[in-house]
Symmetry: C2
Subunit: 550 residues, 2 copies
């Protein structure tokens, strides 16, 4: 009998760019096509998309693309993928709204965005997809039951087991129980919080913490959170109303999302609660709340600009209370702490997670992960969505719950997993690494070599040396032009450059004779590089151009 | 009456480069001269030292330098400071040992390193210094009572209230009670953990966690920790002995520290417990433990090299257990997580804080901070050693304990604090920022502008353009030489460069006439920068050199 293949193309061994392919015969189903933000040692990279080379040449097999929810790490690479691959995209209402704004006019025309709702049954070749509702930090998120000729595959999506979510719509545990009755062959489940013990608190638990802060605030309250965290926006609106404050929205994405969420019915806000940002000074501070983006301290975000007093209309004043209702994405700690410190400097009282309980995660913690495993009792288990340390920990939890070790596949991107009804085999590895996007440059155009060059430039700067020389006699003609960036201050440089001139002359004299232009350039480069290292213990990147005359 | 001045020169508004000056009349006492490690947006910077310009011209007033303990953020800038300033340095035995190895031969000869022990009374001009023992993550740490003509100043040092420290020598609470009886004018206290509720667990509490891991390990156990964390090294040695393992040391600093600590009596290790690293393969894996440096994932450290299999003699093999007994310094999260993931990839079981309780902090948490405040009941309080958010939080704790708000000074580096017996005044601000060290370049030689240039280079790379032109007719002579680093891959560049040639020619023709060389260079730079932006949406740094001929 034909085997079922699951090919993880992103999100296994990393947090971000989630993407995987289910393959049965000549049929492929894709789940999520996300992007990832660069780490701090990837300068100039805008974002990273999955390496989906594996799918090239198999375009005609792709039956459909299912998107679990509208976060960037699940939809962000769609515009790239859809340039190359033509397949219907299935997503829930809010998710479709978020995808649409990312597509250019061409793609909007060409791509079929198909509606999908929890409870639907979608037939795509040999796959039958049954989306079910899950709670996450964005509305309209789903997990997936995917029936295949070999058995049922369940994909958890990003989820938490919130029994009292803000929108009153808990994760669909009944559906999970139904899957259990039907028998689950493979579970693919979110590992993000696999190292966090206990249960992730309910979104509703924030009402108390937010109310406390609002109650004690005498001045304005400014709440920074993620623009996609619609339920958080709802909570802030509700608390603001309780305490007699009007709410202004700061930030283009936040404004756009609030508008879309209200239109689609995901946000319940009376018109008279809202206040245009330019009108906040008409009310006394204690009647004003502001919701803003930039909880990660991004320099161009609202909070980033408030921290350095660069926002065109808004200024932090003593008496303001700022709530960072978000968690800090690993790698952003320095930036976020800097923003917090600067807000304090400006006289604000800053309330932030985890010092105050003003944020809860959107991902399941260990007890919920065990609950999911126990509910579904899958034959095989593949932890997804996490660094290797998360996947490993998730696998340990599965073993505790009784899944045999040999039925669990802890793999990173690219390993082909082959399932029969009673076997799991980890096959060969296909590409699953980083594809960098920098402006319009994608993939090979901005390789790891380029990134390494940028790091070298950052470490020591660059020094350009241009000189003319007498092709026949080998002597220097005129003065060399030495230009440096990022090496040392002008006063230091001037001294170094003055001492480099005779060095160039000497090097030229030493190479006098039948030496080629390239050899001369190499010799000067070597001499100057050593000279710099002796003088300032750093080796700037050298670009040497010798112009032969005569 | 003369006022007492306290001038914080480092460590207030940041974690690192601790340094402050007490000033009475024409007498200055300095406490600590530390350095700080650069943040991720300071490429090429080796480390940062305090800006102590305030002390220049006051050399003859400095009565002494007191060092509280041997961590880099308290001693690291001494070699720089002592080049310029001549004053006796007082430190405890281990601290002196750690300072000595940092001084070059000249300084070792010139600088008077004075012994100091808890219980001593050191008279330095109008100041009487009484060091007292505190527990911290390095032995031989002290806090200071500093008697001044206006009253007693207490400097907490870095401390925790550990009642069961590994070396059996708890923080000297009796001395604090004595200070209380004498009356405390000002308390300066460590704020590092001011946002952590409760009490920092005792070092001894780690015995249980470490024993658990050793008990379950079948293969080798490799423990990574800080080389200065002597008590942790002692604990690992003790646990290893209990479980019948010999211990090898990996890492030059670790070896040096173990040697020094044994010689000075801070580490109690029988000779036959130790095993040279090259001999570990002579024993079965379950009889081997290794202590190594690199818990922050530094690329050249032992753990950093093990993670990428670049250590000359040591390899991670399946069955190894790795314990990271350390906390991740903020900003290092990505690097540390990468090391953990790579160790997992190589088949090791990785046990790390905070997922397992294998590390405790060396700094007091909130309840201990309140304890110190209650014990001393100072008239005035200055939180030190922390980012602004820590200082603010520490001030809140002090208010809870009953110190009036107006008697607390929350300030960042450089604000001169003036005390009389019953008043506190925040005075003018003197320099207290960053002094960068990059190789042999210090301070102005490697300014913020240089750092910004490096960041620009990292973001978009650099492009050098050299061409010769006819000075009289303005036309291009020969082909321009375009060299790029960190911009885009060769295939992309070749296309861009080919299209840039005619652009240079056009620009030259447009400027034909009485244009200067500098104007021509500027025009070409502008044209090419715009061309690159159009083509690849990035603006590499341009270095344009036009060579006039004829």
């Amino acid at each position: 009998m034909e085997k079922l293949q699951i090919v993880p193309l992103g999100g296994l061994g990393e947090v971000g760019k989630n993407m995987l392919a289910l393959e049965y015969g000549r049929n492929i189903l894709i789940v999520d096509v996300g992007m990832m933000f660069p780490e701090s040692d990837m300068p100039g990279v805008d974002y990273i998309i999955p390496d989906y080379r594996y799918l090239r040449g198999k375009e005609d097999r792709i039956r459909g693309i299912i998107i679990t929810h509208g976060h960037e790490d699940h939809i962000g690479a769609l515009p790239h993928f859809l340039q190359e691959f033509n397949a219907p995209v299935y997503a829930t209402t809010l998710t479709r709204g978020l995808i649409e704004v990312k597509l250019n006019r061409d793609l909007q025309k060409r791509v079929k965005l198909q509606p999908m709702e929890p409870g639907d049954t979608i037939h795509l070749g040999p796959f039958t997809v049954e989306p079910y509702h899950v709670c996450h930090s964005i509305p309209d998120a789903v997990g997936l039951g995917i029936d295949t000729p070999l058995g049922l595959v369940v994909h958890s999506g990003d989820y938490k087991m919130d029994h009292t979510p803000v929108d009153g719509w808990p994760s669909d545990i009944a559906k999970l129980a139904e899957f259990n009755r039907r028998g689950v062959l493979v579970l693919l489940a979110d590992s993000t919080n696999a190292t966090d013990p206990g249960t992730t608190p309910s979104e509703s638990s924030l009402n108390v913490a937010l109310s406390d802060v609002f109650r004690q605030a005498n001045g304005r309250v400014i709440v920074a959170t993620f623009a996609s965290l619609i339920s958080r926006i709802q909570q802030v609106m509700d608390v603001a109303r309780t305490f007699g404050r009007k709410v202004a929205i700061a930030g283009t994405t936040m404004l756009k999302n609030v508008k879309m969420a209200r239109r689609l019915g995901y946000l319940n806000v009376p018109d008279d609660l809202l206040l245009p940002l330019q009108d906040i000074n008409r009310l006394p501070p204690h009647q004003v709340a502001i919701i803003a983006t930039g909880a990660q301290g991004e320099p161009h975000s609202i909070m980033g600009r408030l921290a350095i007093a660069r926002h065109p209309s808004l200024r932090i004043v003593p008496g303001d209370t700022v709530i960072l209702s978000s968690h800090t994405i690993p790698g952003n700690e320095e930036t976020v702490h800097r923003v917090i410190n600067r807000l304090f400097q400006k006289g604000a009282n800053v309330v932030y997670h985890p010092v105050a309980p003003v944020h809860v995660s959107g991902h399941a913690s260990q007890e919920e992960q065990k609950m999911l495993l126990s509910l579904l009792r899958p034959k095989f288990f593949v932890p997804i969505h996490g660094e290797l340390r998360h996947l490993k920990q998730h696998a340990l939890l599965a073993q505790e719950v009784g899944i045999p070790r040999q039925n669990i596949a802890v793999v990173e991107n690219g390993y082909i997993l082959r399932f029969s009804q009673d076997s799991l085999e980890v096959g060969e590895r296909v590409p699953g690494g980083y594809v960098f996007v920098d402006g319009t440059l994608v993939g090979d155009a901005v390789s790891s070599q380029i990134i390494q060059d940028r790091e070298a430039l950052a470490a020591s700067g660059v020094c350009s040396v241009v000189f003319t020389y007498n092709r026949r006699q080998g002597g220097l003609i005129g003065e060399p032009r030495i230009t440096a960036r990022g090496v040392a201050a002008a006063e230091v440089l001037d001294v170094l450059i003055a001492r480099a001139y005779p060095l160039i002359q000497q090097t030229l004299q030493a190479t006098r004779g039948a030496t080629s232009q390239a050899d001369i350039e190499r010799a000067v480069e070597r001499a100057l590089s050593n000279f710099f290292y002796e003088q300032v213990q750093s080796r700037p990147e050298m670009i040497v151009v010798a112009v032969p005359l005569g």
